[in-house]
Assembly symmetry: C2
Homo-oligomer: 410 residues x 2
């Protein structure tokens, strides 16, 4: 007996048959004696279809209207899923994000949740209803519909679980949980039983696409335990919880929990920058202003009062970064700006690093032994990332996965 | 200078190009110095697509969830139309029915508007915005989304026009206005300049599909003048207004304003009913209970304490009517129930009938002269309807249209 929040992504509700699979999972959970709140995303390609419609009428649609449009996707999911569950003979009611009491700040397209008033959800649960809530959406203080950005349904689920003080928050997807690395890239990738919030955050930030980073932050803040598992099996997935709890269970943390990678990187180098104070601040300040997120940075030692500076950004930002850097380079009289798209980032993540200093050295050794050149390095308390040539990426991931003994036991 | 409510149906916003035509009409109205509120329906076939999705998951979807689903159609229209207008450089904001302050009773799928609080719409107009409102939808007292039934967007437009005390209410469609009869059936059908609320109501109730009947009732009640016109031309259409105003303008009302027809009819006959009191009440009471709307009724004189009773219903009710009548016939020991689908209704409508008694006689004479047999007759103050064999319908409409001199002047 408990209160369970279950979240299903768009691919899980893409058509009537999949919707029935989801409905059966929800009713089974209810029949096992739980109160159930299910959060769903827009079905399949709906969001892309809506974006395409918008493109046809406007090159630059107002964000408010975009949110009004996109929010219809989840509204279709919740009503159809409620009909499906009703047809199975269970009591059910659907709610949009605003109806479920989710309010956000005044930002459109990537609003932040400000408050959840779960009164109406609780009232429906008390009546014995399964409650289906639209993910990804909220109302702003003016009563406009806003959306929470990519992966916002995860955030809705975790925030609702926190507000309802749910006993568990299950995030369903088409994978069995969180893996030691992407199973599509490395065959003997192993499903992890436990993962800490911080590890999950580092993984989300370095290419793994299982859970949205903001939702993990909220889960950590409110102590919501996330169970990442598959829509299409009954297997236990991966529990994302506090480091303390994991240490208690596992006695000793693994040195490295996972290897992640990100092909969506481009390296920019500004050549022959004058070595005067404030140059870096100027460059990165201007990039921040136009919304470009800079990841890794490396600066060469000055020679003749000039040096080079390299950094990575996401591939989708390549054009506007190039434009801005050309202006900056001209202004600062640097000699050239070079963009290199043939790079990729590979990272190892693990809370074990906190108490073991040798992980970085071990990583560099594994890569160098196999002749893989490291172009840039960055580290955090529980993550080490390297930029390598993109043609080396597959090998790098495999070697690290083997080298840190993450593979499935035979 | 004035406040204009403009309503556009689903076919007017079916794709990006049509949406641009509508957007230009709206901005032109604004640029002529008016405040503009536009009400739109769901684009093209969206509602049918949504109904089909619902069918796939449930044979009998809950009405509440059906409304939640269907309301997404208009939300797509309003946001896309607002984007289109914004791209033309005009200030615009979209609102769902609930956001526009439209509240309805607790009924789903055919809710009745209880109140409109136009505060938010007025505030946006005062800021110089064009306001795009989703037709067909409202919020019920619980905060659920409800819909207003077929043609509900007309009702939204008229009710908003009343609440805003608009100077005019323009209902756009793909026809130029209201015609003396269906121009697809009779080539020389003539567009009417004026029509009274009552005539429009009788026409809507007898097969003409220009305006939804409930919206005309509301227009009559609040004195909202409706201008029915085409999305695809700038011609003046038909003004639907009070009888008094028409008489003032035209000095003398026409005897007959229009000929309408309805092929969606089926005639049931129960044969050899016992002639005892209360039989008719029993039959029609039971049909009302299962939601069947009975139109025309004829009862034969009793012979041997038995008589026949015939009446018409809409074709979509044929199955449930047959099932119910079979039960009733067995119970009352009638000998048989016969359904005749080869019937159609033809009507003449005109406020001139109020002061001229001879219209019915004239109608019967026109039909009989041409050898058309009348199976059933019903009359109201300003309408006479006849049931004829469906193979005679086209001729009947033509003869009446000619006979009452409704054709275009050459």
């Amino acid at each position: 007996m408990g209160l369970v929040v279950m979240k299903f992504g768009g691919s899980s509700v893409a058509d009537a048959d999949k919707m029935k699979v989801v409905a059966r999972k929800i009713t089974a959970k209810k029949n096992a004696g739980n109160k159930v709140v299910a959060v769903v995303s827009a079905p399949g390609d709906t969001t892309d279809d809506l974006l395409e419609m918008a493109e046809k009428v406007s090159a630059n649609p107002p964000a408010r209207e975009m949110d009004m449009l996109l929010a219809t996707g989840e509204q279709v999911s919740i009503s159809l899923l409620a009909m499906t569950i009703d047809a199975m003979g269970e009591k059910v009611v659907s709610m949009t994000g605003p109806q479920a009491g989710i309010t956000a700040d005044a930002d459109y397209t990537r609003a932040k949740i400000r408050k959840i008033d779960p009164k109406k959800v609780k009232a429906q649960l008390a009546k014995g209803n399964i409650v289906i809530v639209a993910g990804f959406q909220a109302a702003n203080p003016k009563g406009d519909i806003t959306t929470l950005g990519r992966g916002g349904s995860d955030l809705t689920a975790v925030a609702l679980a926190a507000a309802l003080e749910a006993d568990s928050c299950e995030i369903y997807s088409d994978v069995e949980g969180v893996y030691t690395t992407d199973p599509r890239a490395v065959k003997n990738a192993r499903k992890l039983d436990y993962l800490s919030y911080d590890e999950m955050l580092e993984m989300a930030g370095s290419g793994a696409q299982v859970l949205q980073a903001r939702s993990v932050e909220v889960a950590k803040k409110f102590g919501v335990e996330i169970h990442s598992r598959s829509t299409f099996s009954d297997n236990v997935g991966t529990i994302i919880t506090s480091e303390e709890k994991i240490r208690r269970k596992k006695m000793e943390a693994l040195l490295v929990s996972a290897v992640t990678f990100d092909k969506n990187q481009v390296k920019f180098t500004i050549i022959d920058l004058p070595d005067i104070p404030g140059v870096a601040a100027k460059i990165f300040g201007k990039l921040a202003k136009i919304g470009v997120n800079v990841d890794m940075i490396i600066q060469s030692a000055a020679v003749d009062k000039k040096n080079d500076i390299s950094f990575t950004v996401s591939k989708q930002d390549i054009k506007k970064t190039q434009l801005e850097l050309d202006k900056i380079a001209a202004e600062l009289k640097a000699s050239n700006v070079v963009a290199d798209e043939n790079v990729a980032k590979v990272s190892v993540v693990g809370i074990g690093m906190r108490s073991n200093a040798g992980v970085a050295a071990q990583m560099f050794e594994i890569l160098s032994k196999k002749g893989i050149n490291i172009e840039m390095i960055s580290t955090s308390e529980i993550k080490i990332s390297c930029i390598v040539d993109s043609t080396d990426l597959t090998k790098a991931v495999e070697y690290l996965h083997d080298g840190f003994k993450l593979a499935k036991k035979k």
